[in-house]
């Protein structure tokens, strides 16, 4: 019982745990998918804003830088390039004012460097020729302010961008060129968030080829002149498109969320790319930790619920103990109905049902008891009746027979032949009735007597019955085939009647067959042992087989074969008392076989 209940609790707690885990899992997936989507969307919006702001800041800085150079050019006021103290003082003032420039250069129209500020120790750079530079060619052609692509400065061997403006003489020819080399480190620091906040969100800038010019908080890409043009966001921006994307950046070996936009320095010229990006993980990590927390909580909840289920179920099912005890008591025949548990639930209902069942059983038991007593009484009456039948019914028969005999002997002379014949009938009838009474009493006794089962040698019983028959009619030639060693469990005293009757019948009904044969044996059929007695006598029509075993039924005229008609019903009673069946198979003039089974008691 305890084991059964435990397993009920275990099953329910497992079920609840599974449900909890499932619910948690579903909630988790929803959180991860929907929440992830929302977080990414929000992040993208923020990134787009940041990108716009960053782009604006960059644009403004470059405009300022261009403005500075153009001012310098304007101040040079159409003069031919002169290297004066005034020029140097001017350039020093520009550099000292927290500008983005690392160097300022003054070039003559042919691209020869006239001045480098701050001055470099190596004097050779002073006379260097920058006419090979792409920006010089562009400026010479367009005669207006230009911004170069990234290149390595010959002055300090570092990557730089040059902003240059021409000094034009009154004829509009280039008299000199002012150029400023941008300190890209300072550009990278542009618009940088205060340290410690959002440090992993960063904007960067590439030139129109895709080379990194500025990268917030990570100058390495600039120093290494990394070409970002294969990065999807950069590629899109260089193509003039603006948007957001989630992609893998091969240089940073990271998945990124990014907003990008093109930055046009002058209308119509190929744009630079501005992007603002953050590692996806950085955005989604908080969500992941939340997911882990939810998962942990779910597990904890599952364990808690399972535990509570076990505890609760044990507690709620406690009254079952008394109910089981009650049922056991009822099972053992004690019908005193116990009070049902006052739990107010189904268990109380069950308790009441058990109590009602006990009451019903008690009433039925009483009824059965009363009936049994009645039955015993009527059985005793029957016994008394059969006693008186055996005693009192026989006395008159004896008189009829005895005095008929007396008449026949003492008054033979005065009796006509017919009278003597009638007296003979009287005697015959009374003797027959005597036999009938004896058989009836035997039949009723067989149903009454107690059964004493033991191991019985059926072959021996068959042999004994056969020997009795043979001794009664030693002149008859009957072939007897009795299978040896047929064992069964039963009451030998009762089983003897079975063989006396079955073999007696076979003996009787083969009397007209000069080659009479009677067999006894056993065969297996449908998992039970079927014992049989077979003869080659007159047999009978199977249409009458059902009536065979009823008392006083005869299938043959009395004048043909003797018998009271009670033998087979006696056989049936004995076999039934042994829990078996008896049946017959026969054909007229082809013999009959009687089968019977006995309950296989060896297994018990």
């Amino acid at each position: 019982l305890i084991v059964a209940r435990r397993s009920l609790a275990t099953r329910l707690s497992l079920l609840s745990a599974v449900i909890t885990v499932t619910v948690t899992g579903v909630a988790l997936s929803a959180l991860l998918v929907l929440g992830g989507r929302t977080v990414v969307r929000q992040e993208m919006q923020e990134l787009a804003q940041s990108a716009e702001l960053y782009a604006a800041a960059v644009r403004q800085s470059l405009r300022d830088a261009a403005g500075t150079i153009e001012t310098l050019a304007a101040l040079s006021g159409g003069c031919s390039p002169v290297f004066t103290a005034e020029t140097r003082r001017l350039s020093q003032a520009v550099l000292g004012h927290g500008s983005l420039f690392s160097h300022l250069l003054l070039l003559d129209p042919d691209g020869k460097v006239l001045l480098v500020e701050p001055e470099k120790p190596g004097a050779e750079s002073f006379r260097s020729d920058l006419s090979y530079a792409a920006w010089y060619a562009e400026l010479s052609e367009r005669r207006q302010t230009v911004v170069s692509d990234l290149f390595i400065s010959t002055i300090d061997r570092r990557p730089t961008i040059v902003v240059a403006a021409p000094v034009l003489d009154p004829h509009g020819a280039i008299a000199a060129i002012w150029a400023g080399s941008l300190d890209l480190e300072r550009l990278s620091a542009l618009h940088l968030m205060p340290t410690g906040t959002d440090s992993r969100r960063a904007g960067y800038l590439t030139d129109r080829r895709g080379l990194v010019i500025a990268y917030q908080g990570n100058h390495r890409y600039v120093e290494e002149q990394t070409d970002f043009h294969s990065v999807p966001g950069v590629r899109e921006a260089l193509a003039g498109k603006k948007g957001t994307a989630r992609y893998f950046n091969p240089f940073e070996q990271q998945e990124k969320l990014a907003a990008y936009l093109p930055l046009e320095l002058t209308p119509g010229s190929p744009p630079w790319a501005v992007a603002y990006a953050v590692p996806t993980g950085y955005t989604l990590d908080p969500l992941d930790s939340l997911a882990w927390a939810v998962l942990g909580l779910g597990m904890l909840l599952a364990v808690l619920i399972a535990g509570l289920t076990v505890f609760g179920l044990r507690r709620f099912l406690k009254p079952l103990d008394s109910l089981v005890a009650a049922a056991e008591r009822i099972g053992s025949g004690d019908f005193s109905s116990p009070p049902p548990p006052r739990t107010g639930d189904e268990l109380e209902e069950l308790g009441q049902a058990i109590a009602r069942m006990a009451e019903g059983l008690r009433r039925k038991d009483e009824r059965i008891h009363a009936q049994l007593t009645e039955l015993q009484a009527s059985n005793r009456e029957l016994e008394a009746f059969s006693y008186s039948v055996s005693h009192d019914l026989r006395a008159p028969l004896r008189s009829i027979d005895g005095f008929s005999q007396a008449l026949l002997e003492d008054y033979a002379d005065s009796l006509p032949a017919e009278g003597a014949e009638y007296l003979g009938y009287l005697r015959e009838a009374s003797q027959q009735m005597g036999v009938l009474i004896d058989d009836l009493i035997r039949l009723s006794r067989l149903t009454r007597d107690e059964l004493h089962s033991e191991e019985v040698d059926l072959s021996a019983l068959a042999r004994q019955a056969a020997e009795e028959l043979r001794s009664r009619e030693p002149d008859r030639a009957v072939e007897l085939r009795i299978q040896p060693q047929v064992q069964a469990v039963g009451d030998p005293r009762l089983l003897r009647h079975v063989f006396q009757n079955l073999l007696g019948n076979a003996w009787k009904f083969t009397s007209r067959n000069p080659q009479a044969r009677i067999e006894f044996g056993v065969q297996d059929g449908a998992g039970e042992s079927r014992y049989f007695v077979r003869d080659n006598g007159v047999g009978f029509d199977m249409a009458y087989a059902k009536r065979l075993f009823s008392p006083f039924q005869r299938l043959h005229a009395k004048s043909e074969f003797e018998g009271s008609g009670i033998g087979l019903s006696l056989v049936q009673r004995v076999v039934r008392r042994h829990g078996g069946r008896v049946w017959a198979e026969a054909q007229p003039d082809r013999g009959a076989t009687f089968y019977f089974t006995l309950k296989e008691t060896d297994e018990e």
Binding site: Y387, L397, G402, A406, I441
Partner: protein, 137 residues
């Protein structure tokens, strides 16, 4: 042959007649005295001399055969009398009780008169001729 009388305890007059006839037919010449119930049987045994044998029916008015048998075995004077139960009953219970109370023999009266005569003849031959009764004191 011993010529003391045979004491028949039998309430059915027909059976008495038939028994008398059977004795006659079997050439048993001993006197036959009859008691019609158990009480009468005891009175007769108390007052008169003792018979050679007692033929005792079981189902009797007033006191039944087993009662008579028990009385006979209880009396010093009669306790050695040969008592043969002659009855219609073949109930096992009667047989056991009869022998337990000390019956010398138990014979069932057959319906067939010829068989009855045969039984009485054999009974007479054995108990009246062959058997040596206990000495009377």
């Amino acid at each position: 042959m011993n010529d003391r009388y045979v004491f028949l305890v039998e309430d059915n007059p027909h059976d008495v007649k038939l028994t008398e006839r059977a004795f006659r037919k079997s050439n048993i010449l001993n006197e036959l005295r009859v008691a019609k119930d158990g009480v009468e049987a005891i009175e007769m045994l108390e007052k008169g001399d003792l018979p050679q044998i007692v033929l005792l029916d079981l189902k009797l008015p007033r006191l039944d055969g087993l009662g008579v048998l028990s009385w006979i075995r209880g009396q010093e004077r009669t306790r050695l009398l040969p008592v043969i139960i002659l009855t219609s009953s073949k109930e096992e219970q009667d047989l056991i009780e009869g022998y337990r109370l000390g019956a010398n023999s138990y014979i069932r009266k057959p319906v067939d008169f010829d068989k009855f005569v045969e039984a009485v003849r054999e009974l007479g031959l054995y108990w009246l001729v062959l058997n040596e009764p206990p000495p009377l004191e």
